[in-house]
Every structure is written in C-alpha cells, then in structure tokens.
Amino acid sequence: MNDLNPSGWRPSTGSSEPGAWRPTVTGHRALEQDEPLLFEIGSLDGCGVDFDEDDGAEMLDALPRRTTPVALPGLSEPEAVRHYTRLSRQNYAIDLGLFPLGSCTMKHNPRLNEKVARMPGFASVHPLQPQQTVEGALEVIAQLADWLVALTGMASVAMTPKAGAHGELCGLLAIRAALEARGEADARRVILVPESAHGTNPATAAFAGFTVAPIPANPDGRIDLAALLERLGDDVAGVMITNPNTCGLFERDMKTIADAVHAAGGYVYCDGANFNAVVGRVRPGDLGVDAMHINLHKTFSTPHGGGGPGAGPVVLSQALAPFAPLPMVVRDEAGKPRLIEDPAERTDAFGRMCAFHGQMGMFTRALAYILTHGADGLRQVSGDAVLNANYLLASLKDVLDAPFAESGACMHEALFSDAGFAEGFSTLDLAKGLIDEGFHPMTVYFPLVVHGAMLVEPTETESKAALDQFIAAMRDLARRAKDGDPALKAAPVHAPRRRLDETLAARKPRLVWKEA
C-alpha cells in the first residue's frame, strides 16, 4: 500500500515557538509590501498609455520645441496598478476603521456619492460651455444652494470657495466689501478671534487685510462674554466665532454676542467647521450669523481624499448677500437656474475667488448625501454624532482628564487633556499607542487652550460596538500613560513605519527625489 500518500504532504500548523521571525530577502512581510519610489522602478522611456496610431503628425515649423522629453519615468499599466495599490495599503482610512480626528469629521463616505459625481452631465462638461448645454449641472448647484440656505436660515450662498479656509476668506472679504460700501472700511480694521480658534481664522483675517484681536476663553471653555463686549467699538469690523467651538461646546451666548456686535456696527462670521453637530436642529441665521462657511467634506460626507479637495460654500445674511463673489447661479422667476458671470450684472460683488464655478465634483456628492438623508435624516445625523461623543466622554472621563466635562453636554466631540500622565509621557505617546491598537489617533495638541489636548470626534458613523472597542483601547492606553509604561514610548511598533524624524526633515528639507 505504498500509493496512499506518495507526496508525503501532511497538514501542519507549523511551529508556535517565538523567534521564528527572520528578515526576508525582499524586505516584504507577506501582505506588508515595501514599495520603492516611482523613480527607482520606472524608466525614462517607459509608457503605460495606449495611444491611437498617430494619424496627424502635422507640426508648425515655428513652434519652439524642447530638445529632450521631460525626465519623467513611465510605468506600464500593471506596474502602475501595483505601485499605487501597494502604496494605498500603507494608509489608514475611514474604510478601515474608526477615525476620531476631532474637528475634522471623518464620517463614512457613501459610494452613491462617487457614482453620481461621475455621471457625464457633471463630470464631462466644460465650465465655459454655453449655459443651455449644462442645465443639469447648473440645477445641481442651485439645488445644493437651496438646501444650504434652508438648513442655515440665511439669505443666500456663495458657492465658489474651494475649501473651508477659502470660504473663510470669502466671508471676510464680503465683510470688507460691506464696510467699504458703508465708508467704514478704513475705520474698522479689527477682527475679534477667540484664543481657542483654529489657526486658520487669524491667518485668514490677516490675509484679508484685518488685524486680529484675541478674545480669551472663560474657565468653562466658552468665549469670555464680558471681555468680548468690552472690546467692541468703532474700530471693530466683526468677530470670527466657531460654534460649536473647538472645545466641543455650544456657545450659549452666540445670539447675545451677535446682537452686541451688530449694535456696535460689526458683522458676525461663524466658522462652520463644526456645523455637523447641529445640522437639521439649529439654523445659524437664527443666531444672528452674517456669514458661515460649510465644509462639504465634514458635514456632507464628501471624501477627504488624503488632504483635499474640499469645498467651502459660504452662506450669507441679507446684509452681506449683495457682496457675494462671481460667478454665481441664481434662479429666475420661473425657477430656472442661470449663471451670472459678468460683473456689470452684479456691481456690488466683491470680485472672484477662482477661475470657474467652484467644486462641482463635491457639489454632486454633497447633494446626493443631503437628498438621501432629507430634513429628518440630517437631524438624526447631528443627534447621533452628539450622542456618540457624549458616550465617549462619559466612558472615559474617569480615566482621562476632561477639563470641560462639567460645562454641559459636549457636542460632536469630546476634549481631554494630558493631566495625570506620568513624568515624560505625553499626548503624543497615547496617540501613537492608538495606532498599534488599529485606530487612527484623535486630534492632538488642539485646541491650544488645553495642555496636551486630545479632541475625539467619533461622528455618527460609528456603532456602539465600534465605540466600545475604542473605549477599551483608550482606557488601557490612559492607564499605561499614567503608569509610565516604557513600551508606550516606542509605539507604534506594528505600523508600516516607526516614529519618523521630523526634525531631520525640517532641518535638511528633501522635497524631491534626486539620483543618489
């Protein structure tokens, strides 16, 4: 019976002894494949594009031509697909797990959004086609604008700003233009900005030609109302307030502040970065806001794409609406959308923010999200986001210092500090420990008003089971940081890279690849 198992193959689970690991020849570790730079694997005569046979080689003799091709390596399609697929696997993403970056709002990106954005009537039309050939695209802009105006209770919306910071700039320029129209632009040069504000706020104000006066926070994490009222005067152009604020709290005095600012002749800019916490429940127009940008990638689920593109439409009050930049889409009496580009038609418009009509590809995605959810669903979005954040806060405040836990319910994000960590252990160590646990860290060291800040935003996307797993990891990490577990200083050890030397990168910047 010698033919029973001629190959000698037997199932085995291998050795479970530790120390079986050894470096591989390739440097790969199974599915964890290290990928060289494009410039190290491509050749300068490589090309992965399948061109038509060149049927028209006609050339102008007078054309001044380059003598050598641009020195860019090319890869074949299979090589390129592998290169980028391997690189993609070194990224964390919402598609892989909870991504609790406070103030950044990493929520699920529904794939319906991607499908509609690629429909040819939106994706394959040129921004300068005759209007009658792009009616559907104009209708998308108009419908999204209608929703944004209704959800915020404002008068109109400027759709062209290309990101949140660009929207901030648009709002402040509208304020400058309104002051110019009143003949007060030279007198009113000061914008009041709370100390807890994101750095973009003062940067934008300075960029728009204003000077910045900081307003302190009170001990419960909100704007010091008395200090703000004290600073109002003839030189103040307006305030920039984030609401809910960067400490995750609703500014209870928003309406009082707005009324006082208006009475003093100024305008109210609201940073809408955190609008997702109140969408469908609170209309900023009811709080006296004059301008607010909406990050479509935060509140309305357009993908962050590894750092953009964003989109930052700005809703405007009656007072600022006439100054909105061109181009804009308006509805005529019959409700038909019409594109206005000629400054002669809108003489108060303060100018133009960019070459074309804004982030169309983001408008389609945001509109799909809004239509899917509706007025009822959006209300549930903010409710679920706030519920999840409060659940995290309640589940962690006994192990992590939560400076504003007694300041009322948090909104969509919970704020902790590094108080109580062992000597030499920091927020950064806890954050890097989260990486080994399979989570993206929270926002760290922001807002600046809290030492070693950790700003945790779960969004409505997460289930209770996902939150509980995250809470378990956070509780363990908090204990290790307080106990001073030296292993935590080494984290992450399971990521594609260990901690990177940022000092070296900044001292000797190497920003492009050069042949060794």
């Binding site: 499908k115 429909m119 921004p127 309406k255 923010m353 960019c354 260990r498 910047p509």
Partner: protein, 439 residues
C-alpha cells in the same frame, strides 16, 4: 448609551442651545429622506440635461482641457485607503499618501523645470495669486505686472485679492494679435516691480519668449512667474524653469483630473530651492524612522496657518490631494515619452483644425504659432456663433466675450482647442457647422 451619559434623550444633549433657536423637529418645508435608487434616478435625470464632451465634437479650452484619462487612474483613486484617508498628519500610517505626494512634487518640479514643488493648491487661478504674494515676500515689493495674455479669470482672481491686501497689480489689456505682448510686459518692468506674470502658452494660445522676459525681470530685481494652464504643452515646449522663470504655477486639471465643470481642479506650484521657506501650501519631505528606514512626513509646517496664525505665508489648509493623486498616476502611466506623444497629437489636431477653419470665408486665424489652442476672428459675434454651433451639436470653442464681457472689441474672437481626443470627423463637423452658421 443614554444611560451611561445620564441623559433622558438625545434632544436633552442640546440644552445649551437657546430654545428659540432650537428646531423641535425636522426643519419645516424640506423633503424627507429618499432611497439610494430614488436619489440616483434624480441625479441621472439632471445629468442627462447636458451636451457632454464625450458625446459631441468638442473644442473648448481657455483654462480647462479635455484629454483621455486611462481607466486605471479612476480605479486607483477610488481605493478607500486613498479616497477616505485624511491629511497625513500621522505619518506612520499615511506613508501611502505621503510617498505619492513626494513623487508628485518631484514630477511637478521636473515638468516645470524647477528645483522644488509643493503638494498642490486649490487650482491654477489661486496658485497664480499665491505666486504673486510669494514674490512680494521675497522682493519686499508690492507691484506686479500681469500680461494681457493671462486668462482674465486668473487676473480677476488676483485683482480681487490684491484689492484687499493692498498690492498694486498692473493688468495689461488682452490684445488679439499674432504675437504675445512680451514687449509691453518688458516695457512695464522697473525697479518697483516684484514680479511679472506671464501665461505660457497664453490665453490666445501664443507662446511668449519667457527667456527674454526673465532676463528683463531679473535685471530689475523682479521675479518671473510663469503660468501654465495646459501642462500637456510641456510635452513639446521647453519647461518654464529652464527658461528662467523663478516661480511656475499652473492648472493640473488636464492630466488625470478631467473637466468636472470647473472643479475640483489642481493648483501646481514650483520654484527655486532658495525660496522654499516662502512657498505656500503643504510640503512632503523625506526622512527616516526610529529604525533608520526611509519614510516621508509633512514638513516645514511652521510656514502654515495652523502654527503661524496671522503670520502664515497663506491661509490655505487643504491641498487638492485626490486630484494630485490622479495627476500623478496619469503622469506615471504617460512618462516623459507618453507626455510628448500626447502633446504632439494635441498639437497636430490643432494645426489641422486651424487649416480647415481658415479656409472658411470670413474666418481668420489670429496666431502665428500655437500649441493646441488658437484664436480665430469671426465675421459675427463669437458668442452667437457658439450658440448656433451648439444647436447643431458641436461645442465649438470659448468666445472671448465669456472671459472679457467688457471688451466689445474682442467680441468676434473665438478660442479653439484640441487634444488627442479630437477626431478627424470632429474637425470636419466643426468646419461644416461653422460654414453653415456663417453662411
């Protein structure tokens, strides 16, 4: 969960909102939720109300160009690890995005003939302004000369910013002539000028002599900013950096990104290494990790708004990450050789188109040279002609009046652009429709 929190209801979590500003139910007058199928049908119905570039003969340019994008580009950018990642602030788990940005920066620097490039800005027009602002920081002068060959929407974007920052912009008027306005630009340079801004190829498709302008600018202590709205042109034309441009900005849309009705697009920005600390926008740099392995991080962030606050070089937070990825993948598939082929085909179609159109009575090609876009003078207002062509199912170009509504004298100028996607049949369809319209 409410039990753990100690709240009676979700609504009870919103008690910090003043009651008169708190909606007690869904905001009135708005529709409720809809199914995926219903929303898809709604959007598809809107999409159908269009004449698209893929359907009909198509000749539009003026800052946005249609090229073929290989299918693998769109497939790869939809991988969730790219699509649903955030800005790579935690580099240990963002090496994918970071390495792409490092490769992208290298590609853009080489394409533009510069030493360094950033990780992208919003689009070409905003990048153009950022270039002017940067030249002001470097030269400590506040006066910029903008060529009349610069896309008027770019010039307006810059003028809007300058109005608020107090910079002095001298915007030369566009002139529909055979040659670009190099002489006027050079004549306007003096010792008070921070930079001259020259589009290459320009609005009319002409090709300015950047080397001569650079020499004149440098002699006066000013910088040359070259603006490239059609980077495919650099497959045939010399790179601006090699011709002396100090800052090269551009619109990257024509490689990998697509038309998308104007956005999102991709701002390209490159310059000399010595100016890097004055450069706006995100930068990715090479470094090592704790085990000495090569890795990448965002670097020189002290220039940026989140640290410098009101002293930042710019208020920009985002780059155009996913568009940069699309550009980079397409460029990787092309390589320098493929870019040259795409450029050559685009140019050849423009030569054919110009020859066919100039044979039509009353139609005059204005340019002496061009890459893939040229201007023609028509015997009738160009906007009317374009509308009439659209009725005949031809998207025939961009009437200059769309960009310069205040210039009645340019009302008869039409900009016509081609690419490797332009077929012989398309050119024939445009020629015959135009003949019919002008008859």
């Amino acid at each position: 969960m409410l039990g753990t929190i100690g709240a009676a209801s979700v609504d009870a979590l919103f008690t910090d909102v003043p009651t008169d500003a708190l909606q007690s139910g869904p905001i009135p007058g708005l529709p409720f939720h809809a199914s995926e199928r219903a929303v898809e049908r709604h959007m598809a119905a809107l999409s159908a109300r269009a004449l698209t570039a893929d359907q009909v003969p198509f000749f539009l340019g003026a800052g946005a160009y249609r090229h073929h994008v290989p299918a693998s580009v769109d497939h790869l950018i939809q991988r969730g690890e790219f699509l649903t990642a955030y800005t790579p602030y935690q580099p240990e788990i963002a090496q994918g995005t970071l390495q792409v940005l490092f490769e992208f920066q290298t590609q853009v620097a080489r394409l533009f003939g510069c030493e360094v490039a950033n990780a992208s800005l919003y689009d070409g027009s905003t990048a153009c302004w950022e270039g002017i602002a940067m030249a002001g920081r470097i030269t400590r002068r506040r006066r910029a000369i903008l060529s009349g060959g610069l896309n008027p929407h770019y010039a307006q974007t810059c003028a809007t910013m300058a109005r608020f920052t107090g910079d002095d912009l001298v915007v030369l008027a566009p002139r529909a002539e055979a040659e670009s306005d190099d002489a006027d630009v050079i004549a306007a340079i003096d010792a008070t000028v921070s930079c001259v801004v020259v589009q290459y190829p320009d609005l009319f498709g002409r090709i300015p002599d950047l080397a001569a302008i650079a020499e004149a600018a440098h002699a006066a202590g000013a910088l040359l900013i070259a603006v490239v709205t059609e980077p495919v042109a650099l497959g045939l034309l010399e790179s601006p950096g090699a011709l002396g441009a100090d800052i090269v900005v551009g619109e990257g849309q024509s490689i990998g990104v697509g038309l998308q009705f104007g956005g999102p697009y991709l701002g390209l920005f490159a310059t000399r290494e010595k100016f890097v600390r004055q450069m706006p926008g995100r930068l990715c740099g090479e470094t090592v990790d704790a085990e000495g392995r090569r890795g990448f991080v965002l670097t020189l962030s002290t220039r940026e708004q989140h640290i410098r606050r009101e002293k930042a070089t710019s208020n920009i937070c985002t780059n155009s990450g996913l568009c940069a990825l699309a550009f980079s993948i397409h460029m990787t598939l092309l390589g320098g050789v493929g870019l040259g082929r795409m450029a050559q085909a685009s140019h050849a179609r423009a030569v054919t188109t110009a020859r066919r159109l100039s044979a039509i009575p009353g139609v005059e090609v204005i340019n002496r040279v061009w890459f893939n876009e040229f201007a023609v003078r028509l015997p009738r207002p160009a906007a009317e002609v374009v509308d009439a062509l659209a009725e005949r199912g031809v998207l025939g170009g961009v009437p200059l009046s769309r960009l310069c509504p205040d210039r009645a004298d340019l009302g008869d100028v039409l900009l016509v652009a081609t690419s490797e996607c332009t077929l012989e049949d398309d050119i024939a369809a445009l020629a015959s429709a135009l003949e019919e319209v002008l008859a």
